[in-house]
């Protein structure tokens, strides 16, 4: 209930970056290849206020878990900083770092790998107390019993090993361990995604109770929008290492601004009988590789509302198709050998003989594009494809780029400020410039 509490941020994340480099082999070094980083987290900023639950939602590979781990300094960041209670986490050392390790805890997703299989439950939960040398041995043991009871296990199970427990019970043990040091802040990294729904509900309710009882601040990382909706006060939506939208849960779910958030919400199948008749638009394509993210807005390759250049008057579907065509030309991802009927075109050195070019372009066009284009665009496309026939990939790409380049690929939209910002040109300056072209769907 963030509204009742202070608005003071407990955690402030500022332009956090975490890149991973593949282990560069000796061969790479000899060849002088620049290692290409995986941009798992690429400049995210947000605040977590005291006592609230901030949700971090996104699909797999969007960098949400890496954000959580880097924020706790379980991994060193590539750049950026995280302030916890006013101190930069990455500058801490000695007793300050020890204090931070007491105040911030984590609960992991996998109830099987998050507990050491060779430690009894009692040892596992007692571990943090041992590390921080809290109380006497007897006091520690007493505290472990209390903790186990608090999370809904019985204290006489403390000599058992993790494999003797079910997934939900193991998750409770992990929660007890996180609570042992009476932290202020807990990162919940997909705490229920490995659990059955009925058990998930038990654990969510438990987390709810514990937050109220111990005044905890949560960062809940999840891919499950309904869990986020149920538990969080505010939500940040991540896509390919960036936050695309952040806002109060109610607002964000009722009035999603970013096209990605909208698509994400539409994609979730509802457990109700009118689900089949629900109007929904499915997002096309796959998430691009974080090694080579798209220029400009990272969502533009799948976005159903890409802003087309002002002077073009074509609908979104056609524009999307032209963009896909262009992208394939840029990636040289069209096999010219298979165009037309068998051996119709003679592609000896990657070019088509001049006399065959029109027929070749015709065949290629029909294979690549399903829809009819307005005449002007038909001409542009055919001109570009003719370049392909002559083997001039770069020229073809340049021609298409000139005609169809969108603001979404030139410029990465900023997240901006305010209570519910979204990183999308539809809401930024670009939208003002293109007011005439309302996004067509």
């Amino acid at each position: 209930m963030s509204t009742d509490r202070s608005e003071r941020p407990l955690v402030r994340v500022d332009d956090l970056q975490k890149y991973f480099w593949e282990q560069d082999s000796i061969l790479d070094r000899l060849l002088g290849d620049e290692p290409v980083p995986v941009r798992a987290v690429d400049g995210v900023s947000f605040e977590i206020r005291e006592g609230e639950t901030l949700g971090l939602v996104g699909e797999s590979g969007c960098g949400k878990s890496t954000t959580g781990e880097t924020l706790l300094r379980l991994q060193e960041p590539t750049d950026g900083q995280v302030e916890f209670d006013g101190d930069n986490v990455y500058d801490l050392s000695g007793s300050e770092l020890t204090d931070f390790r007491r105040e911030a805890q984590v609960v992991f997703q996998d109830p099987f790998s998050s507990l050491d299989p060779r430690m009894t439950v009692g040892e596992t939960v007692q571990q943090p107390l041992d590390v921080h040398e809290i109380g006497t041995d007897d006091e520690r043991r007493e505290r472990v019993r209390d903790l186990l009871e608090r999370v809904g296990l019985s204290a006489d199970q403390l000599d058992r090993y993790p494999h003797e427990f079910s997934g939900g019970q193991r998750q409770r043990i992990g929660i007890a361990r996180a609570l042992a040091l009476e932290p202020e802040f807990i990162v919940l990294d997909e705490p229920t995604s490995a659990l059955d729904v009925s058990v998930q509900a038990q654990v969510l309710n438990l987390l709810d109770d514990l937050q109220a009882e111990f005044d905890l601040t949560y960062l809940l990382i999840s891919h499950d929008l309904s869990v986020i909706r149920h538990v969080c006060d505010r939500v940040a939506v991540m896509y390919l290492g960036e936050i695309v939208e952040i806002g109060p849960v109610q607002e964000l779910f009722d009035d999603p601004k970013h096209p990605y958030t909208q698509a994400l919400l539409e994609s979730v199948p509802r457990a109700s009988t009118d689900e089949r008749d629900r109007d929904r638009e499915t997002l096309a394509g796959d998430v691009p590789s974080p090694r080579d993210p798209p220029s400009g807005c990272r969502f533009r390759t799948r976005c159903p509302q890409v802003i087309s250049p002002e002077e073009l008057e074509i609908d979104q579907e056609t524009y999307r198709e032209l963009m896909t065509l262009r992208e394939r030309v840029e990636r040289r991802d069209i096999s010219l050998e298979t165009v037309g009927d068998e051996d119709q075109f003679d592609l000896d050195d990657g070019t088509v003989p001049d006399e065959d070019v029109p027929a070749f372009v015709e065949a290629l066009r029909n294979r690549l594009l399903d829809t009819d284009l307005p005449a002007a665009h038909e001409e542009i496309v055919e001109r570009a494809l003719a370049e392909l026939a002559r083997g001039n990939w770069d020229e073809a790409a340049a021609q298409l780029r000139e005609e169809y380049e969108s603001v979404c690929e030139r410029q990465n939209p900023d997240l901006g400020n305010g209570g519910h910002p979204a990183a999308c040109h539809l809401y930024g300056e670009a939208a003002d410039r293109h007011e005439g072209t309302e996004p067509l769907q």
């Binding site: 770092l97 390790r101 984590v106 992991f108 998050s114 596992t124 590390v131 090993y161 361990r177």
Partner: protein, 331 residues
Amino acid sequence: MISERVKSNLKQTFSESLLPKLGLLLLVSIVFMAIFAPLLATHDPTRTGHYDEQGAEYPPLGHEYTTQTPHEGDIVEITVEPTTEHVLGTNNVGQDVYSRFLYGARVSLLVGILGTSMALAIGVPVGLVAGYYGGRVDDGLMRIADTMLAFPALVLALALIGVFGESPVMVPDPIVMAGLADGMPESIPIPGTVTIVVALVTWVWFARVARGEALSIRNEEYVKAARSFGTSNKTILLKHVLPNSLTPIIVLATIQVAVIILLEASLAYLGFSGTTLSWGYEIERGQDVLRTRPWVSMFPGIGIVLAVISVNLLGDWFRDALDPNIEGEGR
């Protein structure tokens, strides 16, 4: 350290299959022979056949003369075929093959166990540290290990022995010291350099396995959790990484005992052992008379085969029982 589940798996695999039983039976017999060698031996294994002052009384049967008529007290090459006195016969110099077989088991097992322990003591810490810390530490340590691997084990061993000599270590025999077995040697020689050499050429395997385990365990969420509440790296290594990587290391250790027994036998066969009380050395000695008197080489040969098989069977048993994929629970 070993959980109930592992124990029950060990039991179950043991009861289900014949091979572990066979392996255990063999190994227990060999260990028994090795420990009680002074009591089980019928002759002093180091005593050669010779004429004593009373004349040709020893050996009593089937003696042979390879040179001219011996003089009193001369050592002659005498080989006796198996008799009631020498149940497995005697070797070229008239030593009792049966007694030497028992003592040879001592040397083989001692070198195997000592060598493996030393290899463990070097390899496991190196591997765990390399795998857990990664980066430069890993690069540095593993480069050293790879360099070790690049040398053929036997050649490296020969080179080291060439440099340091054989330096046999005399180990006193507690049974003889206690006066339970008169007439047996008071101490037996253990090949010192060989033991160190086999450890030096095999520790790399432990390092590699330990590193692999540490590499995967350091990414387990329980290690991340331990780090999140400030556990020191040393504590994590000792409390989480080491216990959880023990399983494959134990399996490897059993198999390495067999490898080291073979390596020691090979070195002894080549004459670099520093002790003559070794199965490998005996095989070499019998080689010249293999056609006429096969027992001289045959029995130590059988000893090596049985020891290696028994240890390997036990290794397989551990592997099957500890492999999580074969576990009934699947968790």
